[in-house]
C-alpha cells in the first residue's frame, strides 16, 4: 500500500513536470492557433543555458534566471522573424517550419556546446532526501518541482482571468479582428504570448536538467507527451492541461509499475516483463484514444 502511494506520488511529480512544458504549448496553440514543434527546442536551450551558467557561477537559481531571459529573447526573435508569417497559413506549413527549427536548434547546440551531454547537479540546498514513505528517501528536489508546478498553475490562472493582459489575451483569442478593431495591438500581444510560452518551456528544461540528461534532442521525447497532454486536456485550456498532465503522469507511472507484475502472474517472468513493458509504454496513448472517443474536444473547453 505504501508502495502504491509512493508510485502515485511519482505519477504526480511526472505530471507536474509535463504540465510545466505543456502549459506554454497550450497557450501558444490555443490562443494563437499555432502548432509549435520547436517548443521542445526551447526546453533544450533552457536546460543548456541553465547548466552552463550554473557550472560557471555555482548558482543554480542564477542559471535558471539566465535561461528564462535567453528564452524570452529567443521567443521574441522567433516570433517576429518566423512565426508571424505562419499565422494565416495551414497547420501543415507551421509543422514544416517549426520542424525545421528543431533541426536548426539541434545542430546549433551541437556547434556551440558539442555533442557530449552536459553535467548539472541538484543545487546543494535541495540535495537531500525526505523520508516520506517510511522506506527510504524521496528526493527533496522533486518535491520542490511539485510545489513550483502548482504555484505556476495558480499564477497562470490569476494572469489569464484576473489581469488586464489576460483579458486582452482572451479577447484576441476569441476574435482576433474584433480585438484589433478595438485598438489592441495584436502583433505585440502575440509576440508577448509566444515569448511567455518560450519562458515556460525553458523553465521546464532548466528544472529538468539536474534530473535528466542534458543532451541534444532532449526536448523531442517530452514534446510528444506534452502534445498528448494538450490534446487530452482540450487545446488552449490551462485547467484542462493540468488535469490531463496529472492523469498522464499517473497512468504512465502506474502502468510502468504494475502492468509487468500483472502479466507475470500468468506468464513466465521474462515474457511478462516484455509484454507488460510494451503495454505500459502505450498505456497513455490508449488513454488518449478513449478520452477522444468520449470527449472529442478534450476534457475542458477553452481557457
Amino acid at each position: 500500500m505504501i508502495l502504491f502511494i509512493e508510485q502515485l506520488f511519482n505519477g504526480l511529480q511526472l505530471g507536474v513536470t509535463l504540465f510545466l512544458l505543456a502549459s506554454g504549448l497550450t497557450l501558444v496553440f490555443g490562443i494563437m492557433g499555432l502548432i509549435n514543434l520547436s517548443h521542445g527546442s526551447l526546453y533544450m536551450v533552457g536546460a543548456y543555458v541553465t547548466a552552463t551558467v550554473t557550472n560557471h557561477t555555482g548558482n543554480f537559481f542564477l542559471g535558471i534566471c539566465a535561461a528564462l531571459v535567453c528564452a524570452a529573447i529567443l521567443g521574441v526573435i522567433i516570433e517576429m522573424t518566423i512565426m508571424r508569417r505562419l499565422y494565416h497559413r495551414d497547420h501543415l506549413y507551421q509543422v514544416l517550419a517549426t520542424f525545421g527549427l528543431i533541426l536548426f536548434f539541434n545542430e546549433s547546440v551541437r556547434i556551440i556546446w558539442g555533442s557530449q551531454p552536459l553535467f548539472i547537479d541538484i543545487p546543494q540546498s535541495l540535495n537531500f532526501t525526505v523520508n516520506l514513505f517510511g522506506q527510504g528517501g524521496y528526493p527533496a528536489y522533486r518535491i520542490a518541482i511539485i510545489v513550483l508546478g502548482i504555484v505556476i498553475l495558480l499564477a497562470l490562472f490569476v494572469l489569464i482571468f484576473y489581469s488586464k493582459i489576460g483579458m486582452l489575451t482572451r479577447a484576441g483569442s476569441s476574435n482576433r479582428e474584433m480585438a484589433q478593431a478595438l485598438g489592441i495591438n495584436i502583433n505585440r500581444l502575440y509576440t508577448g504570448i509566444f515569448a511567455f510560452g518560450a519562458v515556460l518551456s525553458a523553465l521546464a528544461g532548466g528544472l529538468a536538467g539536474p534530473i535528466y540528461a542534458v543532451e541534444i534532442g532532449m526536448g523531442e521525447s517530452v514534446l510528444i507527451l506534452a502534445f498528448v497532454v494538450i490534446v487530452i486536456g482540450g487545446i488552449g485550456s490551462i485547467k484542462g492541461s493540468f488535469i490531463a498532465a496529472l492523469l498522464i503522469g499517473i497512468v504512465d507511472t502506474l502502468g510502468r509499475a504494475y502492468l509487468p507484475a500483472f502479466f507475470k502472474t500468468f506468464m513466465s517472468a521474462s515474457d511478462g516483463a516484455v509484454v507488460g513493458g510494451s503495454l505500459a509504454s502505450i498505456a497513455i496513448y490508449l488513454l488518449m484514444a478513449v478520452i477522444l472517443v468520449v470527449k472529442p474536444q478534450g476534457l475542458s473547453s477553452k481557457l
Partner: protein, 385 residues
Amino acid sequence: MIARLVIVIASVFISVTAWAEPLKIGFLTTLSTKAGYLGEDIRDGFMLAVEQNNGQLGGVDVEVIVKDDERKPEKGIEVADKFVKKDSVTLMTGIVFSNVAMAVVPKMVNQGVIYISPNAGPSKLAGELCHKNYFNVAWQNDNLHEATGQHVNAAGYKSAYILAPNYPAGKDALAGFKRFYQGEIAGEVYTKLGQSDYSAELAALRAAEPESVFFFLPGGMGINFVKQYSQAGLNESIPLFGPAFSFDERILGAVGDAAVGVMNGSQWSHDLDNETNNQFVEAFKAKYERTPTLYASQGYDAANLIASALAATGGDVTNQDAFIAALEKAEFDSVRGNFKFGSNHHPIQDIYIREVIKDGDKVTNKLAGKVFENHQDAYAGDCSL
C-alpha cells in the same frame, strides 16, 4: 628477356600509380545527433593512428573518407553505396550502431567489400550471418554484459535486479548478463526506449530489496538512470553494475559524482598498463585534450589492424584472400594487450571490471580486476567459417 623487362617496367609503373593514388578507406559513422560523440571518438582514435604514421597505414598512403550516417540505417546504405560506386572503396569501417550495421554490412560484404567493425557487434553477424569479409575488432555485443554478470556472480551477490530498454539490444544485454550470473533474478524490467524518468522503476526496485542492480541503458537513458538512482539515495544501499557503455569518460563528465562507486565491465581501460596503451592514451590526450573512451581505443585498434594487414600484403588489397588471411592473424599491438580473432572473426580477448572513482575533481574509471581470460562470444559455434 624483353618480356621480363616489360614486366619490370610494368610493375614499376603499377607501383608508382599505387603510390600516387592513396588507398581509400570508407569511414561510415554516426557524427550528428546526440550519439555523435561515439562516432567522433572512434574517428579520432582511428585518425590518431593514421597521423602517427604520417598519413600511412602499414606503409601505404591512405585517404580516410569520413561520412555521417545520422544513426539511420537507410542513410548508412546510401552513403555506403556511394563509397563503392563513386569512390571505388573496397575497405570500410566506422559503424557505431547495430541497427545500421545490420542494414549495411551484409550488403557490402556480399559486394566484395571488406568491413572492419570498430564497435557494433550484433549476434547475427557473429553467428549465422558471419562472413569471410567481416571482422569485428571491438567485441560481440553481449561480451561486456557477460563480464559484468560473471563479476556480480563471483563477488557473491545472491540476487540481482536487472533493467534494459525494450528493444532487441536490451533483451540481448539481459540475456548476456544471465548467461553468467547464477544467482536469483529479483526482478527483470524492460523500460521504454528513450525514457527519461525512472522514479516508478526505482520505487519498485527498492521494494524488491535486491542485493545488486544491473542495468543497460545506453546514452542519455543511462545518465538519467544513474543520476536518479543516486538522488533517491539508492547508491548507498544497493551496489550498481553495468557495461562500460554508460560509464565512458565523456558520459561520466555528465553524470558526475552520482556514478562514483559503480563497477562496470569493459574490454579496455585508459589505465590498462601496457606499452601500446600508455603511448596511445598519452598521444590521444595531447592531441584532443580529453581522456580517450573505449570507443576511441577501438578506432585506434581498427586502424592498426588494417595497418598490419596492409604491411603484410604490401598494400595490395586486390588479392582479398591474402588480405583476409593477414587480418585473421591480427599481428598488431592492441591497446588491450592480449588480442586474437576467433574462427568467426570476432575477438578472443580479456575482459575487465572497472570502478568509477573520483580522482581530484575528475570522475573517472580505474581498473579493478580481470573477469575473463581469452573470452570468446557465444555465437562462434553458429558461424560456418
